[in-house]
């Protein structure tokens, strides 16, 4: 029975491991090494410069500007997305109270759930291009509506005051539906009789959400938090396609900075890798921090 075991392990494990080693592991490791060189592009010339790239990084105003925007994304996107997601999910799973039996969803729950999830199956490229047209100053959906009711029609993505917030709004828009479904699935797992008991005690809907639902959903919320935090540190595709960081770097993000430094206007591969390495540690510490601060006792129903 034991024969044939080793051949199977080898044939099943080696090809995936080789692929992973070549295309995932080795690039990550090389990034650290490249970040300590002054490699300028397609020549083989790359001299070690130690920590010089990282020192430049500390004084690079453009990088700090991009980081500031990522910090705003990090502070706003997860809170708003999770807030809206929880609100809609709780409406859909237990908003309807007119019904006879205890706790049910509002009418049309399945339709809402179907529709809310739409953005999740669209590619980010399509979302970015579509919203760019919606924000268009003359032919856009948004200004068309504002004009119809006689309000001012800003240039949105062309206006340094609004461009970044427009992108942020799209980020929230594209994520909420996913978390409605995710939280909805988790809420379904909460035993109904808990709610019915609290309901009989006369608890209001907000109390129910705050004292029952959120504590019981804490694990899922924590996962959502980490995912959204990582997404907020990225935001590259949306920004590149909607504003390309402009106007005047007002909507720049760190991912775009790195892309432009390596494959865009410049070919400073060494410096770009240094940005990448800094990002790596930033992402890691944000994830760890999110895990730490959100840690609570796990509740299991039995």
């Amino acid at each position: 029975m034991r024969q044939g075991r080793l051949p199977l392990i080898l044939t099943f494990l080696l090809p995936p491991l080789a692929l992973y080693g070549i295309f995932v592991l080795s690039p990550y490791l090389q990034a650290f090494q490249i970040s300590t060189t002054d490699w300028m592009g397609y020549s083989a010339q790359a001299d070690p410069v130690g920590m010089a790239n990282f020192r430049t990084l500390l004084h690079d105003g453009y990088v700090w500007n991009a980081l500031k925007n990522n910090a705003i994304l990090l502070a706003v996107v997860p809170v708003v997305t999770i807030g809206l997601g929880l609100f809609f999910a709780s409406m859909l799973t237990m908003g309807g109270r007119k019904g006879r039996a205890g706790v049910t969803g509002v009418r049309g729950t399945s339709v809402y759930r179907l529709v809310y999830f739409f953005p999740q199956v669209l590619s980010v490229v399509i979302i970015a291009l579509l919203w760019k047209e919606i924000y268009s100053p003359t032919s856009g959906l948004l200004n068309g509506a504002l004009r119809a009711v006689g309000l001012a029609t800003p240039a949105w993505l062309g206006d340094p005051r609004f461009a970044f917030w427009c992108v942020l709004a799209v980020m929230v828009w594209s994520n909420v539906g996913f978390y409605v479904v995710l939280f909805g699935a988790a809420m379904q797992a909460i035993p109904r009789d808990i709610y019915e008991a609290v309901l009989l005690d006369g608890a209001s809907r907000t109390t129910m959400l705050r004292k029952i639902t959120i504590p019981l959903l804490w694990d899922t919320i924590q996962v959502a938090w980490i995912y959204l935090a990582i997404a907020a540190l990225d935001g590259f595709i949306l920004v590149q396609l909607m504003t390309n960081g402009g106007p005047n770097f007002s909507s720049d993000v760190i991912g775009l900075r790195m892309y432009d430094t390596s494959f865009g206007s410049e070919n400073k591969f060494g410096y770009a890798s240094a940005i990448g390495v800094a990002m790596f540690f930033l992402t890691l510490s944000v994830a760890v921090l999110a895990l730490r601060t959100a840690r609570r006792d796990r509740i299991e129903y039995s």
């Binding site: 075991r5 099943f12 995932v24 090389q30 109270r97 509002v106 291009l129 995912y227």
Partner: protein, 301 residues
């Protein structure tokens, strides 16, 4: 079923008997209208952009610019054919289909085999290899972008579909293996043991017994991988540079948007977007349950 049926009138009776205990009854009605309004509003915010995109794809350029909210006077399907042929969206669509078919098959095959070994076979260093492997899930792709470009170039696969297929697969493996390992562990061991005692070889056991048993898990992770490969933009942007005919759909759309900026052919852009969106949307609506659970399953556990 019976417990619910008998429980409901009982609960109703308790409510009716003690009205004083539940003051927020009327306020709830107002709240219901209020929050129902929010639900509808968000629904409209989701549907409206897509409906607008489809409608605009059937308008003339003049109509799009002058009346963003207007309905098309005539249904101009020639926008679609223009996007399909002269903007090569049809071509790019086909390219994406071929590459995703390749990368998805490879991901599922390699992911399932690796996960099976991690889940069912003991060997030295298994934990270390497993965590090394699954750890790749944690980091965003673009941290590795610069070296990846040179790795792919040095193996001579830069600007080729096989290169793209291998890279898509490599970056999907961590999550796929993570998900499927957990899934294989939930399958009963008794079936496998019985098959081995009956003289079934290890390879046949996997392909004839274990793989069919893992079908629900394979479908979930397959849907997840399909969407992430289909929607990939960053990797082809870097690994398939230039403006050739062999690019992916996402790249084609973004360059269509750039050229639209110069040519002012809005209708063609909307038509291109619509062509790209509709098939995915139709598949999603048809398999809503599977798609939603496929995409959320990995996050929940």
């Amino acid at each position: 079923m019976t417990t619910v049926d008998t429980g409901a009138p009982a609960a109703e009776a308790t409510r009716a008997a003690t009205p004083g205990d539940r003051p927020p009854r009327r306020e709830l009605g107002v709240a219901n209208v209020f929050s129902h309004g929010f639900l509808l509003l968000w629904g409209a915010m989701t549907v409206l952009p897509l409906a607008w995109m489809v409608l605009s794809s059937l308008k003339s350029n003049g109509e799009i610019i002058s009346e963003p909210w207007g309905l098309p006077e005539a249904l101009r399907f020639d926008n679609w054919s223009r996007a399909w042929t002269s903007a090569h969206i049809g071509r790019f669509f086909f390219n994406s289909l071929v590459v995703v078919a390749g990368s998805l098959s490879l991901t599922m095959l390699l992911g399932a085999t690796a996960a099976y070994v991690f889940a069912r076979y003991e060997f030295r260093g298994r934990q270390v290899v497993y965590y090394l492997f699954v750890g790749g899930m944690m980091f965003p792709v673009f941290l590795a972008l610069v070296p990846l470009f040179f790795v792919v170039r040095s193996v001579g696969l830069l600007g080729t579909w096989p290169g793209l297929i291998l890279v898509y697969t490599a970056y999907s493996l961590p999550f796929t293996v993570f998900f499927l390992t957990a899934f294989f562990r939930t399958l009963p061991t008794s079936v496998a043991e019985a098959a081995l005692i009956d003289g079934c070889g290890h390879f046949r056991l996997f392909f004839r017994v274990m793989l069919p048993m893992a079908r629900p898990g394979l479908i979930s992770v397959g849907i997840f991988n399909f969407l992430s490969h289909w929607n990939q933009f960053l990797l082809p942007q870097v690994l398939l540079p230039g403006d050739g005919q062999d690019r992916m759909l996402a790249q084609g759309l973004s360059s269509l948007a750039v050229s639209q900026g110069y040519a002012g052919d809005y209708a063609q852009l909307f038509a291109g977007l619509t062509i790209a969106v509709l098939p995915v949307l139709v598949v999603y609506v048809a398999f809503q349950r599977q798609v939603q659970s496929g995409l959320t399953a990995g996050q929940l556990k």
